[in-house]
């Protein structure tokens, strides 16, 4: 697994992006995020409301879940503006107390219009190995030298 920022020709199909583990998810941070976003959705705030909807607890906001997976890319890319496209699916809910690991793997490389593109599968999983986010990112990498 590579830890420094690689160049295009140093990345191969199957190369793993350095993972990032975070947690435990803090319910107070979920509430802080709701205040910052002015998000009135009670599913992030009210445990009784969540339980009435057959959830065990409040859930963390989608952008909050995605933030740590984005950070994996930020720390891997030479520049954040090297991101070209990204798509994430919130596959399962994230609850207070969850521990999350964010991962990625290179699945394709190509050159187009003199730009070097790398397509990565990206995902986040909880402490039980359940994927909470699945997705794909297309990024641009420089060539060494």
């Amino acid at each position: 697994m590579q830890k420094s920022k690689p160049f295009f020709d140093e990345v191969e199909i199957g190369t793993e992006i350095p993972p990032l583990a975070i947690g435990p998810v803090d319910r107070n941070k979920i509430i802080q995020m709701a205040i910052l976003l002015k998000d009135p959705n009670p599913i992030h705030l009210d445990r009784v409301y969540a339980k009435e909807r057959n959830l065990p607890d409040i859930i963390q906001q989608g952008p909050f879940n995605m933030a740590s997976l984005y950070r994996v890319l930020t720390e891997w890319l030479h520049s954040p503006s090297d991101i070209n496209k990204i798509h994430m699916r919130l596959a399962n809910n994230v609850f207070p107390g969850d521990r999350l690991t964010n991962r990625g793997m290179v699945k394709q490389k190509y050159v187009k219009d003199e730009q070097n593109y790398i397509v990565c599968e990206i995902w986040q999983e909880n402490q039980n190995g359940v994927k909470t986010i699945t997705g794909e990112a297309t990024v641009i990498f420089p060539i060494k030298g």
């Binding site: 975070i22 941070k29 802080q32 995020m33 910052l36 976003l37 002015k38 998000d39 009135p40 959705n41 009670p42 599913i43 909807r53 859930i59 906001q61 989608g62 952008p63 909050f64 995605m66 933030a67 740590s68 984005y70 950070r71 890319l73 930020t74 954040p80 503006s81 991101i83 070209n84 496209k85 990204i86 798509h87 994430m88 699916r89 919130l90």
Partner: protein
């Protein structure tokens, strides 16, 4: 009464004027415990990648949920399903964007509890009308 949200397809949201505020980015990074690149949050600097979903979902704060999505925060279970971006150029702290959103698809998903899957595409443009990003958000509204 059965809600038919399919008739929302093609509806355009009111245009949103979104300013990327330095303090909001700073507060966001503190909450998610992400260090800022170079330790700096300042006007003119690129926003952290993790902040893009905040911009992409800004329509939820700006729209009348009842009119635009036939939903109510108190009565309906509403969740964020998917988020995607195509980036044309970096978005900078301090920039003001004009975001134009449209409902591009609605379908019902059956299951233990049926829900509507609503896709919203938003284009963010700068003051010169140049595209900064295309955002694709999927919102789930349970029935």
């Amino acid at each position: 009464m059965i809600l038919d949200r399919k008739r929302l397809i093609g509806n355009k949201f009111p245009i949103i004027i979104f300013k990327v505020l330095k303090d909001e980015v700073d507060d966001f990074l503190k909450i998610v415990e992400e260090p800022s690149i170079d330790g700096k949050i300042c006007e003119g600097k690129e926003i952290p990648l993790s902040f893009y979903p905040i911009v992409g979902l800004s329509f939820l704060k700006a729209i009348d949920l009842g009119r635009e999505l036939m939903a109510d925060w108190a009565k309906d279970t509403i969740m964020h399903g998917e988020q995607g971006f195509e980036h044309y150029r970096p978005l900078l702290i301090g920039e003001t964007l004009r975001i134009e959103g449209e409902i591009t698809d609605v379908y019902e998903k059956k299951g233990k509890r049926p829900f509507d899957v609503i896709t919203i595409e938003s284009i963010g443009k700068d003051g010169k009308g140049t595209k900064v990003f295309l955002s694709r958000s999927v919102i789930l509204i349970f029935k």
